[in-house]
């Protein structure tokens, strides 16, 4: 790939993460090496317990590796203070969660504006940027609504708008279709695809092979190790292209 000439946006170097559950040591990430470049659409796939949530937490700067290095945009996240981590999450990452995670008491517009508030933007700027982001996901007519007044699909689109609002380097989607029916799920995946086509880097975390097939590249995890890293349409990827959603 031609992007490989530039340094990777996301780089894992021998990343390990161990937890202690009582007396037993759980190796949630076991010496993972991977690189994701700007503009890629990558799916991290794995069953429950494969370590994909740990990977997502580390990529999302919510957690730091026990050993090894995680470089985001060339900077070592493991060495950062909590405040810098918070600032990195704010500037570099856009989160899309399975449960949408919108703030129930805030209007749709205010929800989308939350990352902008922590970025220190003025109220006027926040309103403008948030309204624009909501326009991109087709919710311009719902600005004043509360999240509870929207359907699941619409709520997930609000959360996509929120993820986009501060112009992140990486859009990190954790089981974005998990709470949606298949039709709205396809819609959401369609939006992610179009974001990728517009030049955004999208990392999709899922247990569902058919959803992983939406991406261009698949990284498969098992027991905290990378067992496959390559194009989604190669047979070894294990994702069945014929059942791909959103195609």
């Amino acid at each position: 790939m031609e992007q490989q000439k530039a340094p990777p946006l996301i780089e894992f170097r021998n990343v390990c993460k161990t937890y202690y559950m009582g007396d037993t040591v759980v190796r949630a990430a076991d010496n993972i090496n991977l690189s994701i470049y700007a503009g890629e659409f990558v799916a991290i796939v794995g069953k429950s317990g494969s370590g994909k949530s740990t990977c997502m937490n580390i990529i999302g700067c919510l957690d730091v590796p026990t050993s090894g290095q995680y470089l985001l945009d060339g900077r070592d996240v493991g060495q950062m203070s909590k405040d810098t981590l918070a600032q990195f999450r704010n500037e570099k990452l856009g989160f899309i969660f399975q449960q949408y995670n919108l703030l129930p008491k805030l209007s749709v517009l205010d929800n989308v504006a939350v990352p902008l508030m922590y970025a220190g933007k003025s109220r006027k700027e926040r309103k403008e940027i948030a309204a624009h982001a909501l326009e991109r996901v087709g919710l311009s007519d719902k600005l004043k609504n509360l999240p509870s007044q929207l359907s699941g699909g619409q709520q997930q689109r609000v959360s996509i708008a929120r993820a986009l609002s501060n112009g992140p380097s990486v859009i990190l989607a954790d089981e974005p279709t998990g709470a949606l029916d298949s039709r709205t799920g396809r819609e959401v995946l369609g939006i992610l695809r179009s974001l990728h086509e517009a030049g955004n880097t999208v990392v999709l975390i899922t247990h569902d092979n058919s959803i992983a097939a939406t991406a261009e590249r698949v990284i498969r995890l098992e027991d905290g190790r990378v067992v496959y890293d390559g194009p989604a349409d190669a047979p070894a990827s294990g994702v069945r292209k014929d059942e791909v959603a959103g195609q």
Partner: protein, 398 residues
């Protein structure tokens, strides 16, 4: 993120849970209102007493001659000598003789009129001014003149404002009215400070059968030297009378000081007790904030994931607690004013005392500052708990 954002978030959150916020504030509201009313009652009592005592004169000493335990006497001339010999302390003197004789105008008896025999300096000492006619002179004292000065009420009611030159009777003797006092009280009442008659002390002493005046009013040169002046006067009297029981020197300003001090002690104790309810109110805020942090764990997780630093979460919750208690404080202050006027009405109707319960500016400032401080202090612990939440756990929380 600016502080104003934290305030906006706090107000937003208080608006969305009005009932809970109000119940949380209740402790603060009651505490602040109680402290304000108690301090208001204290300052009302103090100013009421001060005005009462001021009417009696805080720049004078009163000497009461009881004559107990001695056969010696102090004459009026002796008293004048004492005053003249101690000019640094005393500037004037007037004997006073309180009479119980009834005043009669024509055939009407004025049963509630107070009649007092005084010296020629009395009006100056008391600061009384004349509206018409002349004052009592030394000649009136020396001659035991049958003259008197009347209060404005008597002039107004019994003589239609034309009393100078008219006569009235005191204990059967005829007195010519030579002067009328200016109005003293705001409203002239029967038995009030305008329903009075003053005559020469010498005449009064003879009429009431007393050899020497029963009391003296001594004007102080310097109000700040009240207690020293009082000591000097006591020494002088003791050296002449040789008995502690034969005389009594009282100073209104000293009595006022003692009373004020006592009231302050009582009020402080009451205010501290009321202040305890403020602490209880603060604990209530802490309790609710802890519940709120637990309930909003997921919100905190989301905010952290979206880039909120720990100090933003901390300030959000601290400011929320402070705003709740400051609003409570403001409501409490409003309620304090309301209760103060209710208390004023209750006191004046039930006790028939003209006392105004006045919340002091200081007590309001302290109350408001205190309530905000309580919010910050008791909000800090829950806010810290929120700030230190691990975002991963918080996001997973249901």
């Amino acid at each position: 993120m600016k502080l104003t954002e934290s305030f906006r978030l706090a107000l937003q959150n208080i608006r969305t849970s009005k009932a809970r916020s109000f119940l949380t504030m209740l402790g603060i509201i009651i505490g602040i209102a109680a402290v304000m009313v108690i301090i208001g009652i204290g300052s009302g009592m103090e100013s009421y007493m001060r005005s009462m005592f001021q009417d009696l004169g805080t720049n004078t000493l009163t000497v009461t001659m009881t004559g107990t335990g001695t056969s010696r006497e102090v004459s009026v001339d002796d008293m004048y000598e004492i005053v003249e010999a101690n000019a640094t302390f005393f500037s004037d003197l007037s004997p006073t003789v309180t009479m119980r004789s009834t005043v009669k105008v024509g055939s009407e008896s004025l049963s509630s009129t107070s009649t007092t025999g005084v010296g020629e300096g009395y009006f100056d000492i008391k600061g009384y001014k004349l509206e018409q006619g002349r004052g009592l002179s030394y000649v009136d004292m020396a001659n035991r003149g049958q003259v008197c000065i009347v209060g404005n009420y008597i002039d107004d009611v019994w003589f239609s404002g034309q009393s100078v030159g008219q006569t009235l009777r005191i204990g059967g003797s005829k007195f010519t009215i030579i002067g009328v006092m200016e109005q003293q009280a705001d409203e002239m009442d029967e038995g009030g400070s305008d329903d009075v008659v003053f005559l020469p002390y010498s005449t009064a002493a003879r009429l009431s059968g007393q050899g020497t005046p029963s009391s003296y009013t001594v004007l102080l040169s310097d109000e700040d030297l009240t207690s020293a002046a009082s000591d000097v006067l006591e020494q002088e009297l003791y050296s002449r009378l040789r008995s502690d029981d034969a005389y009594r020197v009282t100073s209104m300003s000293m009595v006022l000081d003692i009373m004020t001090e006592m009231i302050n002690v009582v009020i402080t104790v009451l205010a501290v007790i009321a202040g305890i309810s403020l602490v209880v109110g603060g604990v209530g805020i802490m309790n609710i904030m802890l519940v709120s942090v637990t309930e909003r764990t997921r919100e905190i997780g989301i905010r952290k994931a979206l880039g909120a630093k720990e100090r933003y979460i901390l300030s959000q919750f601290v400011i929320e607690a402070a705003v709740i208690s400051a609003i409570g404080g403001a409501i409490g202050i409003a309620m304090g004013f309301g209760l103060s006027s209710v208390a004023t009405v209750l006191i004046s109707t039930m006790l028939e005392v003209e006392m105004t319960v006045t919340p002091t500016v200081q007590s309001i400032l302290i109350a408001f500052g205190g309530s905000a401080a309580i919010g910050i202090v008791f909000g800090y612990l829950p806010a810290r708990k929120a700030a230190l939440l691990n975002p991963i756990d918080a996001l997973r929380y249901d």
